[in-house]
């Protein structure tokens, strides 16, 4: 009996110490990991959308509260055209959530470009949403205020052949963020101005 108690105590104490150490390391590295993910996962999509911007959008970012969550907005400044903000939203793809970076011109409310960050779509089909230029470019110039649809549903977006579900998911994801964007618009304008343009 004493043996059993000793085993339980040793294991429990060891596991508790391990949990404590991990919690400390996790909270200690959280901020750095966020920056790394911004640079290496979201960064490339943001840079592509804001091609030719004169600032560093990864550094010029601000957070706004949406319900209980915080949303990060990245600011892109241009020489001749009005500034744009990029934010991430999620749509339902064929196999789980698809992370979409949406770039919006804040004066005209038109999309300047989109990019895919995280997804688990089928390689060769839905996964092409991340690389297919024609698909991504067909979003350019559409208004965030309108419902965005693929051409099969009467919209303007060329869906990727063999990946209608993914294409629809991206469209509904962007459309779904429209209310949030319009509601936060005054705050977004305020914050963008703070970065100077």
């Amino acid at each position: 009996m004493r043996d059993i108690i000793r085993m339980i105590v040793v294991l429990a104490v060891l596991a508790a110490c391990s949990g404590g150490l991990l919690a400390a390391v996790k909270s200690g590295t959280a901020a750095k990991i966020e920056v790394q993910q911004l640079t290496f996962v979201k960064g490339p999509a943001i840079q592509e959308i804001l091609k030719g911007c004169t600032n560093n959008p990864i550094e010029d970012r601000f957070k706004l509260k949406v319900g209980d969550e915080e949303k990060t907005f990245f600011v892109g400044k241009f020489d001749n055209t009005p500034p744009a903000v990029v934010y991430e939203t999620f749509g339902k793809g064929f196999a789980g959530d698809v992370g979409i970076m949406v770039g919006v011109n804040i004066e005209t409310d038109k999309l300047i470009g989109i990019g895919i960050t995280t997804h688990s779509e089928t390689p060769g089909l839905g996964a092409r949403a991340k690389t297919d230029r024609g698909f991504k470019e067909s979003f350019q110039g559409l208004s965030i205020k309108d419902a965005i649809k693929v051409n099969k549903d009467g919209g303007n977006v060329d869906s990727i052949s063999g990946a209608t579900v993914t294409s629809r998911g991206v469209c509904t994801g962007i459309t779904g963020s429209s209310d949030m964007y319009q509601e936060l618009k005054p705050k977004i304008m305020e914050n963008v101005k703070a970065f100077g343009s």
Partner: protein
């Protein structure tokens, strides 16, 4: 029997060099050594876990009851693996993306559990630390050698560990021997290196 600390360290570099002499932990050895940078990154991560778990297992060896020693080892090892995973994400994110699933899999790397069971649980802290450092260094050297060989032949480049720079080894006309990058190439490389080592050891 009583070996010195130095001997405990140096045995890991040749006599008991992990993938070649102990032929343990082959999964990460074959899977991640596509480039020199990946090999060294994996080696350093495994060395850290090995060193820390050896020290802790050795320090706690009178407290841990024999019957539950393996679960205790696993808790200790898993803790340090998660620490490595988090730290790597914080400081070397591209390397973390490259190594991917093989970082969490260090938990089940039999070199680490093997050293905890066979050595650290029976020896003092200093000897266990020397053993962990030696075996870890041997593991890192093996991975680096295998990674460099496969990268030079398979892609004609050499990536410098812990940086983004890549050296082009040959001119633009070089046709990469892409077989070396695939899994069978890893087996062939490992076999040839093992053969050369046995020959040299005679």
């Amino acid at each position: 029997m009583a070996k010195t600390i130095v001997q405990e360290f140096t045995k890991g570099l040749w006599d008991e060099i992990p993938p070649f002499r102990l032929v343990l932990g082959l999964c990460p050895v074959l899977a991640v050594t596509k480039t020199l940078g990946n090999g060294v990154g994996m080696g350093v991560a495994a060395t850290f876990v090995l060193l820390c778990s050896n020290i802790l297992v050795s320090a706690l060896r009178s407290v841990i009851p024999g019957k539950v020693r393996v679960p205790c080892f696993i808790i200790i090892i898993a803790t340090f693996v998660v620490v490595v995973e988090l730290v790597m994400q914080a400081v070397a994110y591209p390397l973390f993306l490259q190594l991917g699933i093989f970082i969490p899999l260090i938990v089940v790397n039999c070199i680490i559990l093997g050293r905890a069971e066979a050595f650290a649980f029976k020896n003092g802290v200093a000897a266990a630390a020397a053993d962990g450092l030696g075996i870890g260094a041997g593991f890192t050297i093996s991975l680096a050698a295998l990674g460099a060989l496969r990268e030079i032949l398979g892609s004609g480049t050499l990536s410098i560990p812990f940086s983004d720079s890549v050296i082009q080894m040959f001119g633009p006309d070089f046709q990469p021997f892409s077989f070396m990058i695939e899994a069978p190439g890893a087996f062939v490389c490992l076999g040839l290196m093992l053969g050369v080592m046995n020959l040299a050891g005679k």
